[in-house]
Symmetry: C2
Subunit: 657 residues, 2 copies
């Protein structure tokens, strides 16, 4: 196995107005608020019980377990976000709080390494008997991710030791030896966590354990079916015996067939994405072609057949799941925030496996649209479901659309998405660059202002990226430290730049080769060299594949990485009466309603409404007046729902001209 | 109270190729098949238990109750259809079978008149304790309707006596006196049945009992809430105690407020329609203005804000219910067959209350589209859900659309819709004409070939209607018997005839006055007079109100009473890539695939697909080729799904030209 990941070091610090605002929101609003929530201190919210569960499990308090069976993961995701945040922005008070909490967690760990407050408090003796439903390995995975992040931020080993002890324990419980459980997790997560733990500890057992979970999954005889039989079908959620699941039903957990035989993204979208990310991780470390092939197939399936233009995946709320190719309804959509975050994890690992711009294009799409759109501008409210079309009356009064909320919800009502957003935004510095050892190449995937230091074979490189994204396409790289040898800088050519990206080095236009969607500059660099990367960033209308029934005759407005949308606030209701003239000028202009904001206006049409009377539902088309001209205004999708509630649409009708 | 209904007699016999085919299907296929089903003789179907339940209740067999709590109603609806069928087409063998079954039913009736096999077998002693859920009055209503139909067809009083004894018993149990239940039914049906029973018996108590149920419904304190409290919330369906329903939840049963205060069609659509029909019945008999006003409001709400172009009502499958104004999704639609049949009941009673063509327009729309579309051409398969857009892959693989079936289901899988279709189609002769006593007017509402005999104040009128509908707009009325006094013939001017209906009497053009949508001809008629009523019947594109989000930029093709649709079989997939040219000629031509069938072709467009590759989900609109010309072919909606399964769409995109 390669340990290439250890040979190169990179350190990246964000220096970006757009994204630092999000990081400071996380630091100043999200993390403190969630800490209060975890400690049951939010007056008008149901208690979380998460911290209290650890106190009870540690023997420091009497009481009953509270919350969901996976409640521990909320605490872990918080600690992980704290780790990233401390790395960006030291905060001794926060670190002290975290240290105390880590001590509590350590006290809740069993002498043998087991750690899970639900089973410790509520079902001692039943550990590892319901992997299908009860999230023990999922919670362990999040604790491991937290430990890695906290260790990397602070250098403190306390939680890392807890995590290693927990992983060591799991390594004794699971395996192919006599007396071990030859099984795997109901909600994938531990696999990618174990790879992270391997990367910081270099302990190969952790990588092999991750591989074991991936290799065993979906093999015959099916572990979940056997496990359910052993419980006589008893269900944690139903609190009674249920029919044993069929193999087809296990597609929900991606356990219906071995992962290397899976061709189609299926089942619960977050589970799928976490698993695919781990597969890509392992494929990267082992170089196994069968696993790489599976990653390619699942990537293509998820992103080329079943991804919303906003980077949302999983189009039905029933099972929060994938449906089938080209089924991307805008109104009954799910597109859960966590699934897009999982897609970012997957894309990031595919980029590490092989630098192809299509991965970064998708990563950027999910990040700038679905993910940041899920959070209100004040960081206090969140969408789980990220629709591409909203009609508030339908959300209120049509039960088929009640899961589609027209306004973001206060975050204490929900457990999974907000902390996931927090940990992603706080660790964004990890997603900007990768290094390819073999070619001494620094790849720039995202155009996010940052300072990067990279230790290549050629020597140390330090650079400063200055970016005006997402509002303007000018990116500038200043090299402050370079080695005395040739190395390569590779800059992603975003798909949205329409092949019109211009490179200057020290003010001179340079031609560049494009390899797999990256502009490649290999040379002896000099300190003080400046690379200007000017990306074409004009608004343009985008069509969806004709098999996407929901978008027939419609187009979406995109400018750079941002998808735009139309809100009732700007355009009146009903948005379905509007149509666009695809030949009309798209006028981008800066608006000061939100910082930096570029809005887009264009001359379109609004259908005749004056000739209609309320009591006429159907009339001959020939009686209608022609549509009237109307100026249409679009704002970035990620900003929707930050003003008064109303209709919203990403896809609008194209009027032929 | 008026008893006008008894003073005039009408007898109408169908003589119509289009509709007699349906009646013979019911007679030769549906009624025999259902009898086998009711007797558990269908080999590959779950048993119905319906007849066996009566045998057990009558003490002729030992055993357990089988089927749903409302299983008796299936038997009653069958008997009702048999009654209508015998009236059209005597059949001694069928009549003998029905007589034997009626004897069995009589034997299952308690000495006090009570009749319900579920409570007799399974919960003796618990009668009338769960009106909210358990359908006792609903089953009684269907038995009463059967009795009236059977009596009118055969003159035999046996079942009518059972029905009267049952109604008399209910009249002792329910009321405002001490010891009586001041309540009403969970699923409305008894009310309209009691009105029918009143009409044949002239027993005012039955009308007053129907009024009582209507008057009590939704009053404060709410009966269902009180009743649920008495059961401590025990639910027949959940088999455990549930929370007491809130007043808002009772909108499902239209019991959230008194009926005279209801403005908006709400809740379970079949329940709503049956109730509105009874309200119109009672309003007609009592002339009470408050009730008439409520009927008008609810009519307007249901048909002018929430009705599909096919005459479907109730747009969500969750609760099979109305949602809100202009919410008419084509894909997640419900539009249950029984709800449209209920709408026909309501429309028919509104027509009886006041002859306005808008009621008949809706009646005809529901009949020719949603209702007959629910049945396959061989009478053996049925839709419950009548979608306006079908994508078979989505029905199979998107759980949000799994209730939308792309193919009709064998009827034994379902209990309510097929027998409802059977009883409607067999009694269609009742819907063609009404008589207005005050003005000695015979109204023709539907253009269905028939022989009618009417006893007016002026004297007896006999006429023969010859109609080429739905394929051609020529209708002819031949008067064979007329009195020696003036009387009026009133012919509906259908909305679809676009104000271009031409009248000839004995070959001479005549001018006519139009009153409330009816062409009025008042004169001294002569035997042998011929009225020709030539209705404009050209195909035309129809738009939906701009508030209907689902149909923005779309149009539906209509010709006469028929809504048309586009099927994949004729037009390829994906139908969403098609668009129409609203100025192109619509070419109607007879096609011999189905008898009489007129198909419509037009020159439209198909979006560019050749320039798309499978792995590209989104591309700049500017890169696409212009749509290509394509001949589009539409067939009547009611015929969809009778060939190979595929996509179907009623609403198609309009391409501006």
């Amino acid at each position: 196995m390669s340990t290439a990941h250890e040979r190169h070091h990179k350190r990246v610090t964000l220096r970006d107005e757009f994204w630092e605002r999000y990081q400071s929101l996380v630091r100043n609003t999200v993390i403190p608020y969630q800490w209060e929530a975890l400690n049951d201190h939010i007056p008008d919210a149901d208690p979380s019980f998460a911290v209290r569960n650890f106190r009870i499990a540690a023997g420091l308090e009497q009481g009953e377990f509270g919350g969901m069976v996976f409640q521990d993961s909320d605490a872990a995701k918080w600690l992980e976000a704290v780790g990233y945040s401390l790395a960006n922005h030291p905060d001794p008070k926060l670190e002290h709080m975290a240290d105390e909490f880590i001590e509590l967690i350590a006290n809740a760990q069993h002498p043998n390494g087991y750690l899970n407050t639900y089973y410790t408090i509520k079902e001692p003796g039943n550990q590892w008997t319901n992997l299908y439903e009860c999230h023990e390995l999922y919670c362990a995975g999040h604790m491991i991710e937290a430990a890695v992040a906290y260790y990397q931020a602070t250098g403190k080993r306390r939680l890392l030791e807890v995590a290693c002890k927990l992983a060591d324990h799991i390594d004794t419980v699971f395996g192919r030896e006599e007396g071990q459980i030859r099984g795997y997790d109901g909600h994938q997560e531990i696999e990618l966590a174990l790879v992270k733990l391997y990367r910081v500890t270099n302990e190969e057992r952790y990588l092999k354990l991750a591989q074991f979970f991936i290799d065993e999954r979906g093999t015959d005889p099916n572990f979940f079916i056997e496990e359910c039989r052993r419980r006589e079908g008893y269900s944690h959620w139903a609190k009674k015996n249920l029919p044993i699941p069929t193999i087809d039903q296990l597609a929900y957990n991606q356990a219906h067939k071995p992962v290397r035989e899976q061709d189609v993204a299926t089942g619960h979208a977050v589970r799928a994405m976490y698993m695919y990310a781990a597969m890509a991780d392992i494929a990267n470390l082992t170089g196994e072609q069968a696993l790489i092939d599976a990653c390619h197939r699942l990537w293509d399936s998820a992103t080329k057949k079943m991804m919303y233009i906003t980077g949302g995946v999983g189009s039905t709320h029933q099972g929060e799941a994938f449906t089938f190719d080209y089924d991307l309804p805008n109104d009954t959509v799910y597109a859960e925030t966590c699934a897009s975050i999982g897609l970012i994890f997957f894309a990031h690992r595919m980029l590490t496996l092989e630098a192809k711009s299509e991965y970064a294009d998708v990563l950027e799409r999910a990040l700038y649209n679905n993910v940041i759109g899920s959070m209100s501008q004040d960081g206090k409210r969140y969408f789980y479901v990220n629709p591409l079309e909203v009609w508030p009356n339908a959300s209120a009064a049509n039960p088929d659309r009640k899961h589609v909320k027209p306004t973001r919800q206060k975050w204490f009502g929900c457990a999974c998405c907000p902390p996931n957003v927090a940990r992603l935004l706080s660790s964004l510095n990890q997603y900007i660059y990768t290094v390819d050892e073999a070619s001494d190449t620094i790849y720039t995937h995202l155009f996010i202002g940052s300072e990067g230091a990279f230790d290549l074979d050629a020597g140390r490189v330090e650079l400063h990226q200055i970016s005006r994204l997402p509002w303007h396409g000018d990116v500038r790289f200043e090299l402050s430290t370079v080695p005395n040898r040739e190395f390569t800088l590779a800059f992603r050519v975003p798909a949205w730049s329409n092949g019109q990206a211009v490179m200057k080095v020290n003010g001179e236009l340079v031609k560049y080769d494009t390899v797999d969607g990256y502009a490649i500059l290999c040379r002896r660099w000099t300190e003080g060299d400046v690379v200007e990367w000017k990306l074409w960033m004009e608004a343009q209308w985008i069509s969806a594949h004709p098999e996407v029934r929901a978008n027939g005759g419609k187009a979406a407005l995109v400018r750079g990485p941002l998808v735009y949308c139309f809100e009732e606030t700007d355009n009146g209701s009903a948005l379905s009466t509007l149509s666009i003239d695809p030949t009309a000028q798209l006028r981008s202009r800066t608006d000061h309603e939100f910082s930096g904001l570029v809005v887009i206006e264009t001359d379109g049409y609004a259908d005749d409404r004056h000739s209609w009377q309320d009591h006429t539902l159907y009339r001959p088309l020939a009686e209608l007046n022609a549509p009237g001209k109307k100026t249409l205004k679009a704002i970035p999708y990620y900003l929707w729902g930050n003003r008064e509630p109303g209709e919203m649409a990403v896809w609008v009708r194209v009027r032929a001209t």
